[in-house]
């Protein structure tokens, strides 16, 4: 088991791209930690730097109080699962799982036993003599995991291990991974670009953008209180409603309609502040007659989610989404209210949550962040 500490870790590629930028991070013993971000945000580079496959430009990687920054990957006692699984095509499942043990000079009988144990844990017992080419995607993924756990490393690194599986299998494999990690309790760093994976798996997660951590919190916190427009627009399988607003006389003015200020934001804003109002579709309610604190519009699209519908409501140049139990015919006039406890206000200039410290310079989320959200809609 291990604690991982990163101290102002920086990775700059020749050519000037800074993939990881002065990053500080502490990952607790036994924690399932997810690194989440869009492609190119530096999450995979960060993982590879922890593994030792990339050399840090400056800063330190510390595992259990030992500075491993200059150690080769093999001396760091880690297990890694690659996105393409990297199973050796010329070896059987058994030899694949046993290869790290062979490198570690475990004798033949012992490593056969350990490989068989690991394979048994992952329901691969029947497949030991097969070659990777004869396995399904899910089986290959499990072999890759078995290979990483068989030699009992103190730290697991996962590089988007589920992204090559089809959707149904992915959910299954996700549950499986979470249970496995809970059982063996090894500290795990998990890289993904899929926010639902990070939310489902992690004990704690870091949302990354441009080589920096934008938010470091539990999945619940990241989901309920994204601390910037970037995180708000990135998290959630249904995009958050993000609407341009202005503070006027202790209330919000959104395209001419009045909404009361969310209670915990009220003290941080003054009249004339230009803000972005954020609320998730799950916390929106539709009314079929005028009510206070509502935005008016017409139903434009209704999408079935399963036991509810996602309705897109348009009006006064705004577009909102709301989850409703019943579908409504297109063109129906509706009034949308938002659960006040779950509404957030962001500063329009730097994208930070109101009341949070300002983000300066190039770290600030630029003004196009709301438009990023708009583009996803």
């Amino acid at each position: 088991m291990a604690r991982v500490t990163l101290r102002s870790l920086t990775k700059r590629y020749p050519g000037g791209v800074t993939a990881v930028d002065a990053l500080d991070l502490e990952i607790a013993d036994g924690e399932f930690f997810a690194l989440l971000g869009p492609s190119g945000c530096g999450k995979t580079t960060l993982l590879r730097t922890i593994a030792g496959l990339e050399a840090a430009t400056t800063g330190q990687v510390i595992i259990d109080d030992v500075d491993v920054t200059r150690l080769p990957p093999g001396d760091r006692d880690i297990g890694m699962v690659f996105q393409d699984y990297a199973l050796y095509p010329h070896m059987t499942v058994q030899d694949n799982i046993a290869y790290p043990l062979k490198v570690r000079k475990v004798n033949k009988d012992e490593r056969r036993g350990m490989a068989a144990d690991a394979a048994g844990n992952l329901q691969l017992g029947e497949l030991l003599e097969r070659r990777p080419g004869q396995l399904s995607g899910g089986q290959q993924q499990r072999v890759a995991v078995a290979r990483a756990i068989a030699y009992q490393p103190r730290l697991f690194l996962f590089d988007e291990p589920l992204s090559n599986l089809d959707a149904q299998l992915r959910v299954e494999a996700r549950t499986f991974l979470k249970r496995l990690q809970a059982e063996i309790g090894v500290t795990t760093v998990y890289v993904t670009h899929d926010q639902s994976e990070a939310l489902a798996l992690a004990d704690r997660m870091a949302v990354m953008q441009r080589g920096r951590v934008r938010q470091l919190a539990t999945p619940e916190e990241v989901y309920r209180r994204p601390n910037s427009l970037f995180v708000a627009s990135f998290i959630g399988s249904m995009p958050m409603n993000l609407l341009d607003a202005e503070v006027v006389d202790g209330a919000l003015d959104i395209a001419g309609s009045r909404l009361s200020l969310p209670p915990d934001s009220a003290e941080h804003v003054t009249s004339g502040d230009r803000v972005v109002f954020g609320s998730r579709p799950e916390f929106a309610t539709l009314h079929d007659e005028p009510v206070d604190n509502a935005l008016e519009g017409q139903v434009a699209v209704a999408e079935l989610l399963g036991n509810s519908y996602l309705l897109t409501v348009e009006g006064s140049g705004l577009q909102m989404r709301a989850v409703a139990a019943e579908a409504a015919p297109n063109g129906t006039r509706v009034w949308v209210t938002f659960d006040e406890a779950n509404c957030l206000l962001y500063r329009r200039d730097d994208g930070g949550l109101v009341g949070s410290p300002r983000v300066e310079g190039d770290e600030a989320v630029d003004a196009d962040a709301p438009r990023v959200a708009a583009a996803r809609q």
């Binding site: 093999g74 880690i78 050796y88 290979r147 030699y151």
Partner: protein
């Protein structure tokens, strides 16, 4: 023509006739070309077994006498052995060195790497060719390797290396780097990774280069002809050049039987490797 055919407009039927004639012309030409290239092969199959071989290919007056006479010649067996030594030594050298070079070039991003490869490839045709005959002779003479198999092997390997590196690099490039990375994470050293992971994965590529090298060396005449003085060291291709009758005529019974023996190993090897590994010259395309 059927009733439907009669309804076809005159312009149309002319087009049909034209396309049929084009077809016929095409096949006649292909046939002539095929016969032209097949004749020497037929000769090679027929002449060795003919009591009185001529330059014509025909049904032989069957006999094994030609082979008996070949084996009576004192140079035949040593020359085949020499060919084998040269081919195998060059093959080992080329496969080993080209694999290491190709691996390094594939994994390390050297500035100007691709240009280097293309220039090498360009010059490799010159190195073992006629153009470099005199400088090569002088070079090998100066370093004291004239009239040795070592000299021939070095020159041939030098000529074949660039193309070997080029083809093998393609195989190496198509092997995902994550294979090696996962071995490194597991703690394998560079040499272990090469031995346990990289070499087995690119084995078809190595087989291609090995066979290709053997065939190239087996068939090479010029380099051993220039660099070897002693007839006892000469490989098969050079020895055959000396098969004349006392009258200065080409000794056809001897040449035909010897040519047959000379071709067999290459064909057998090709069949064996093709069955075992299959030929994949297109390393970049995924299976």
């Amino acid at each position: 023509m059927t009733a439907a055919g009669a309804a076809v407009a005159p312009g149309n039927s002319r087009r049909v006739v034209k396309s049929v004639l084009t077809r016929i012309g095409f096949y006649v030409m292909v046939l002539l070309l095929g016969v032209f290239f097949a004749l020497p092969m037929l000769w090679l199959l027929a002449a060795p077994f003919d009591r009185t071989p001529t330059l014509a290919a025909g049904v032989p007056d069957f006999t094994f006498d030609n082979f008996v006479r070949v084996f009576e010649n004192p140079f035949v067996l040593p020359s085949l052995r020499n060919s084998l030594i040269l081919a195998l030594a060059t093959m080992v050298l080329v496969v080993t060195a080209a694999a290491l070079c190709a691996y390094a070039l594939s994994r390390v991003h050297l500035p100007g790497r691709d240009i280097l490869l293309y220039v090498l490839l360009l010059f490799s045709a010159v190195v073992s060719g006629t153009a470099a005959m005199v400088p090569l002779f002088l070079l090998i003479f100066e370093i004291g390797l004239i009239n040795t198999h070592t000299g021939v092997v070095l020159v041939l390997a030098g000529g074949l290396m660039p193309a070997g590196i080029f083809i093998l690099k393609d195989f190496m490039d198509s092997t995902p780097a994550s294979y090696e990375e996962s071995a490194r994470v597991a703690g394998a050293s560079a040499l272990q990774t090469l031995r346990d992971i990289v070499v087995p994965v690119v084995r078809p590529g190595l087989a291609v280069i090995a066979v290709w090298t053997v065939v190239q060396v087996w068939g090479d005449f010029l380099i051993p002809f220039i660099l070897l003085r002693d007839p006892e060291l000469a490989p098969a291709a050079v020895v055959m050049f000396n098969f004349y009758t006392e009258g200065g005529q080409a000794n056809l019974p001897l040449i035909s039987a010897y040519s047959f023996l000379y071709s067999v190993p290459v064909v057998v090897m090709y069949l064996f490797v093709n069955r075992r590994y299959g030929f994949r010259f297109y390393g970049g395309i995924k299976r």
